[in-house]
């Protein structure tokens, strides 16, 4: 390279303002880019955590009895018989709550009858078809048997428990660290015991936003009689939409003593639970793209301006023997120096912003490789934005030097 950096630097220092402004833009862009990318990746990972549930092929029905004639047990039996008889339905279960919906039950579960309570754990009522209706995988033990399913809780026996439960692997490990939970006894808040007969993994319960969304256990019981009943129906791939229409039409008319509040795909509830995450992701993505666009345009505009006011100077250099390549290099190196100064101060800014986010908003501290990626991206972007003006500069004919303006 025939050009040394020194004269370029000296020239820049003599005319600082424009360069400083571009460097400042690069610095802000780096801070925004790295932190936004970091947050976006975290949100995407959060949304795509494994749920162990066949989300794309399940729909949810909510049925509410409202007259004195309504008999929930009979109604549930009738509805389930109908649902299971439909072709295209893999499995259906009655349940008290909707998976991934941020609504459901939490109860106490401890490993000794006299143990102090240790917070609340998510539970769901399902029947022997429940795991199948979720698409959940049993990794140890057995499923519930049909004769094991307990009658629904009524207002007269709210604190009744069940003899057996199935737990998630994560909950099993929490309750019995380093041991198999199979066959072990656990106790509810009122001191009733139950035996763990199966382990499911992976599985997410009703509360994706909670600290331990995978701590969940299943109760072999018909859904409580004083709350609305939900059905989870799992269909063959591609048949969900059609079945939903059929089912809604049939159930709405099948029993005048209840109403069907809704028939909706399970993904609807998941999307609602993650609405804040997905909108944050979308917003950050948009603003980040705008930041990159505005910064590139800024770099491009400054380079163009620099070329236009130096036409005569460039012509002179060309006349004195500088090759086109040298001119291009000059502007690219100049841009590199400006962007370089920008990313150096930008690193400090990005780390400061990352620190602020981690202390005020409990986000994990910015991973450094995001910063490296951001630096490389912005340097590349700077060179790219300066490329066209540099080429234009190189096209200045040496004859310009001899003309007076």
């Amino acid at each position: 390279m025939s050009l040394s950096v020194r004269p370029i630097l000296l020239a820049l220092l003599r005319n600082r303002t424009g360069a400083v402004l571009v460097a400042a833009q690069v610095a802000i862009a780096l801070a925004v880019l790295t932190n936004a990318a970091y947050i976006i990746v975290q949100r995407i990972e959060r949304i795509h955590r494994p749920t162990g549930i066949d989300e794309q092929n399940i729909f949810v029905i909510e049925s509410a009895g409202f007259t004195g004639r309504f008999r929930q047990t009979a109604s549930v039996r009738e509805d389930l018989t109908y649902l299971r008889g439909l072709s295209g339905v893999i499995a259906a279960t009655a349940t008290n709550s909707i998976p991934l919906s941020e609504g459901g039950n939490n109860d106490t579960l401890v490993t000794r009858p006299d143990a102090p309570r240790t917070g609340y754990i998510n539970d769901m009522e399902i029947d022997e078809h429940g795991l199948d209706a979720l698409g959940a995988h049993l990794v140890a033990g057995r499923n519930f048997r049909a004769d094991e399913i307990q009658p629904a809780l009524t207002k007269a026996d709210i604190s009744r428990f069940v003899p057996t439960i199935i737990v998630s692997r994560a909950l099993g490990e929490h309750l019995f660290p380093h041991e198999s939970p199979l066959g072990r006894q656990v106790w509810d808040a009122s001191g009733h015991p139950a035996t763990i007969v199966g382990v499911v993994d992976p599985i997410m319960g009703n509360f994706p936003g909670s600290e331990h969304p995978d701590w969940v256990y299943f109760l072999p019981r018909m859904p409580q009689e004083f709350i609305v009943v939900r059905y989870l129906v799992r269909t063959q791939p591609g048949e969900r939409a059609a079945l939903m229409r059929v089912v809604e039409a049939h159930l709405a008319a099948s029993n005048p003593d209840r109403v069907i509040n809704f028939v909706r795909p399970l993904s609807y509830f998941k999307n609602l639970s993650y609405l804040d995450d997905s909108s944050m992701e979308m917003y950050l993505l948009t603003v980040t793209m705008l930041v990159v666009a505005v910064t590139s345009l800024g770099i491009f505009a400054l380079a163009t301006f620099n070329v236009s006011i130096r036409t005569k100077q460039i012509g002179t250099r060309r006349a004195l023997g500088a090759r086109r390549r040298d001119i291009v290099h000059y502007f690219l190196i100049e841009n590199g120096l400006i962007t370089g100064a920008g990313v150096v101060s930008g690193c400090a800014l990005a780390l400061a912003a990352g620190y602020w986010l981690s202390t005020h908003y409990a986000l994990p501290r910015l991973e450094l490789y995001y910063l490296v990626g951001g630096v490389l991206a912005l340097c590349g972007l700077g060179q790219l934005a300066a490329w066209q003006p540099a080429r234009r500069a190189a096209a200045v004919p040496p004859a310009v030097a001899t003309r007076t303006v």
Partner: protein
């Protein structure tokens, strides 16, 4: 002078349409992102009943598990109360108004050919409407006497009245609520406090309920809370009576205390009850009885989530970026026009006049940028609206109207654009004004 400066500015724009467009776009984008973010933030952080901030209080008492606070790390009592505690506090005559309430499930039927459908219903004491200043379209609420024993009267929202009765004055008409005969006593006018401060469960921007029935029906029909029924004490819960006597929290209580004196009296009334109950073995946690005004209630319940504050920060960083960009471009533009400026100086224009002339150019840019920015923000908010509506399709409430673009927002955006762009443009204008004209009068 001003029209002349404006003409000069227009001519200058015409000379460099590319750079002008770039600057307008940069200002517009910065403003659009800021306005969008602030509109959403403003909607989320608003206090919809600010004029009653020193009168209206949520009542909470910490009856929770001595071993485990409900919110680890936050020293707050549960947002709901037990039935028995609210019943005692209701006996106090200190508050001007007092409301105990909860949302429940209800199915309305028996109206013409309308098929039965679920209606979000609130079981509440009579003061609800006066205390939260709920507007009525037809009729009115019930009197306190109708709460217990409960009279079969019901108040409908305007939406529900439109649906059931086609918007007609339905006062006096009969309908069946959970298969019991009720008579419509009032219809609300449009009313949607955002956030829905008096009940933040299930989302702060839910619509208000569509039906309201007297409080006594809760016990009479054994109605549970639709969203929150939290229990911690291992106690016998074999029927609804047990539930009413339990330490489960599910009742929401608000009081209106017109002055500081009544507030103190009610607080000590609560504390006295707390001390008595504590002797009897309840309230094992440290004393944590609160009267919380709406502003603090929204803060305690984290209505403005952290994401939104991050986004406001991001929006301003982006605005700064856009403005720096604009300053750089302005400087370049003014410098390339320095020869003309030099001639004007040599012909007798003062530094002040040059500064003013360039500032007029900046102001023109700001106005253009702001107008475009407003357009973009409106587009952006429409997009946000569609995202939320699509997600909530069929769901009650949500963000639909949260995102509307109000007049205040427009004024804000214009002011913001003008002030920041002028401030940003002042520097290049000042620098050019200071240049010695001689330098630029020489040939290059």
């Amino acid at each position: 002078m001003l029209p002349y400066y404006l003409r000069l500015a227009m001519r200058s724009f015409g000379r460099n349409p590319g750079i002008t467009a770039l600057m307008v776009l940069a200002i517009a984008l910065g403003i659009a992102v800021c306005v969008m973010t602030l509109t959403v933030y403003h909607a989320m952080s608003g206090n919809p009943i600010w004029w009653k901030n020193d009168r209206l209080y949520a009542v909470t008492m910490d009856n929770w598990d001595p071993q485990h606070p409900l919110y680890p790390g936050r020293d707050l009592p549960p947002p709901e109360m037990t039935y028995k505690d609210t019943q005692f506090l209701l006996t106090s005559s200190i508050p001007l108004r007092k409301v105990v309430m909860y949302p429940t499930e209800g199915v309305v039927s028996g109206v013409g050919r309308e098929s039965a459908a679920q209606v979000a219903t609130r079981v509440t004491t009579a003061d609800f409407f006066a205390m939260f200043e709920v507007p009525f379209l037809y009729g009115n609420g019930w009197s306190a006497g109708a709460d217990r024993p409960p009279e079969p009267v019901i108040v409908l929202s305007r939406r529900e009245n439109d649906k059931l009765f086609g918007g007609a004055n339905s006062v006096g008409r009969a309908l069946r609520w959970n298969d019991h005969e009720f008579r419509v006593i009032g219809v609300l006018n449009d009313w949607w406090p955002r956030p829905r401060y008096y009940d933040l469960n299930g989302g702060s921007f839910q619509l208000p309920d569509d039906a309201y029935i007297p409080y006594g029906w809760g016990v009479e029909l054994e109605l549970l809370n639709r969203t929150e029924n939290d229990c911690w004490r291992p106690e016998k819960l074999d029927n609804f009576r047990d539930y009413l006597a339990s330490d489960c929290v599910w009742q929401q209580m608000w009081v209106e205390l017109p002055d500081a004196a009544s507030r103190e009296r009610f607080q000590s009334f609560m504390d006295g009850y707390w001390a008595e109950q504590r002797k009897a073995g309840r309230f094992e946690r440290p004393k944590n009885n609160h009267l919380t005004n709406v502003a603090h209630w929204l803060r305690d319940n984290q209505v403005v989530d952290k994401d939104n504050r991050v986004l406001v920060g991001l929006a301003f960083a982006f605005l700064a970026l856009c403005l720096i960009n604009t300053v750089g471009l302005l400087l370049a533009r003014f410098l390339s026009g320095a020869a003309v400026t030099g001639i004007r100086r040599a012909l007798g224009a003062s530094r002040g006049q040059i500064f003013l002339q360039l500032l007029v150019e900046v102001a023109a840019l700001a106005v253009l940028g702001a107008s475009l920015g407003l357009g973009l923000a409106a587009l952006g908010l429409t997009a946000v609206h569609h995202v939320y509506v699509a997600a909530h399709l069929g769901q009650r409430g949500g963000y639909q109207e949260l995102m509307h673009f109000d007049a205040v927002g427009v004024v804000w955006a214009l002011a913001l654009a003008l002030v920041v762009t002028l401030a940003a443009g002042a520097y290049p204008a000042w620098r050019i004004g200071r240049l010695s004209p001689a330098v630029y009068l020489k040939s290059q």
